[in-house]
Amino acid sequence: MNSSALIFMVIIQATVTIFTAMFFRKVLKTPKQPEPDSYTENDDES
């Protein structure tokens, strides 16, 4: 690959990957809202 293509590809792909990971990590790290929320995963069994 030529150097300009390589640099451009790495910058764009790294930027997209970093933002994707950053936002998804924030989703995982954000504390769950107190009940009742929309998600049944953390609902009480009773």
């Binding site: 690959m1 590809m9 764009i12 792909q13 933002f19 994707t20 998804f24 809202q33 929320d37 049944t40």
Partner: protein, 565 residues
Amino acid sequence: MKTKQDAWGSRVGLILAMAGNAVGLGNFLRFPVQAVQNGGGTFIIPYLVCFLLMGIPLLWMEWSMGRFGGKRGNHSTPFILDTMGKRRFWKYFGVFGIFTNIAVASYYCYIESWTLSYVFHSVVGTFSGMDQGQVAAFFNSYLKLGKSTTGIPYEAVVFYLVCLGLNTYILSRGLKGVEKAAKIGVPLLLVFGAVLAFKGLTLGTDGASAAHPDASAWDGLNFLWTPQLGSIWNINVWLAAAGQMFFTLSVGMGTIHCYSSYLKSKDDVALNAVSAGFMNEFVEVVLGSLIVIPIAAGYLGLDWVKENAGFGMAFQTMPYLFDQWGPIISRFAGVFWFGLLFFAGITSSLAMGTPWMGFMQDEYNFKRKAAAWTFGGMILFFGLPTVLIYQVAIDGTVDQVFFNQYDYWAGTVSLVVFALAEAVLFSWIFGIKKGWAELLSGADIKIPIFFKYIMLYITPVMLIIVFLGALFVPEGNDWAQAISGLFHGEGWTLDHNSMIKMITNSGIKEQLSAATDPAQIKFLKNKIIIVNAARALLASMFIGISLLVYIAYRRRNKSGEEQAS
């Protein structure tokens, strides 16, 4: 009217379902082809700018609108839009949010069934030892229903029915079924995509042969990624980049509104929307750019790719290229590639079923299973013509006339019309102040204030440009020449691909007037009949859904009057 029927199991499940909705065949096929046809590296910058100025704002609008409507017990766009604008006609714009999904799912299920069939053929080694021409001929033969490649009679129809049955069954399980499919499908898609992208990235010149001695995957990557800033002023590239945004993010369809309508008022939409949007971009820009083009350039050379880049490469070229990797690896590669396309397809087609289901459950008290099976029935009714009706050209190639009409009017034009309407409604009718507050309600991220003004001015203007761009495509798609000609008093000659000329079938009529061969004349006359039949079916679908919306509206009014008295 019911107010709540279903709920998402988890936030990650919702995001994967949204990402699965957005990630489709276009990420792996349309994006690289668009990039190749629009100058390679030239395309990426306008594409990313469009993502920021149009894609993300539209995602935020749709997520916010969905949650806003859901709070009022509406899970489909006709009555979501109705709650946001006082004028009665908004609910009929919302019809697009159901119509587009049924029409697109009708032919999308057919493409999905090809991928399923090709997984089967990859496993049994059908493509082993075939040359490139034979692989292309195989696909053509598959589309001709009378011929069987497996011994199963009408196998294209059988695979279509299997796919449709699978979609309907998963939908009948409700959001939990959709979520489970996304939780399995999206990670598998990422793994399959990563394996193939690694191969594309490392193939180099290993695929060069006596027939294609100069073939190199590096050439494909160089072409895609060498920045060419000078071409940024080319309006065609911008229109192509903006058009790609619709396909890749699944905006303007009504599916995002529907998924989001099952959220509660304090649930975040801002972070969820960008997270799902970027996940789609990761699949498209990172994985999508590293598979088809570099692998094809690695075996067949960049010139071949430039001349032949198109949707058909997935089925007509890739199996041949995989076969160069030996009998065992080629089977795995085939399963990975077509499995990847299948998962990308099914997570999108499932999303297309939910607006109809939400509408029928809300307005006509349908049970979930009944809503799912009526959707399946409609897809069968409207989709079978796309499977059964095609033309065989004089050179033997299959022209999927019916299919292409659905793709153009429902899969292209409707998206732009609906996205434009919803952007105007959100920012100007509902009001950007209320819309912005709705977006920020419960938000887990801070959104820069300039996006408020982007949503107010830039996004609607970009959508108007895209719409006008499709309506008035100049001859030869040469915008610079057309604009220059307009200022010199030469008028504006429309291309046969412009929406206006498409309506009048001018392209086919021109071919017809030039044709002298009786077989060709008959072919073109039949083509006009098929084209008009497909449009009539689409129009009847739109009118039928509008009628259901009207009846639902009357029922709501009657119910309101009874409660008041």
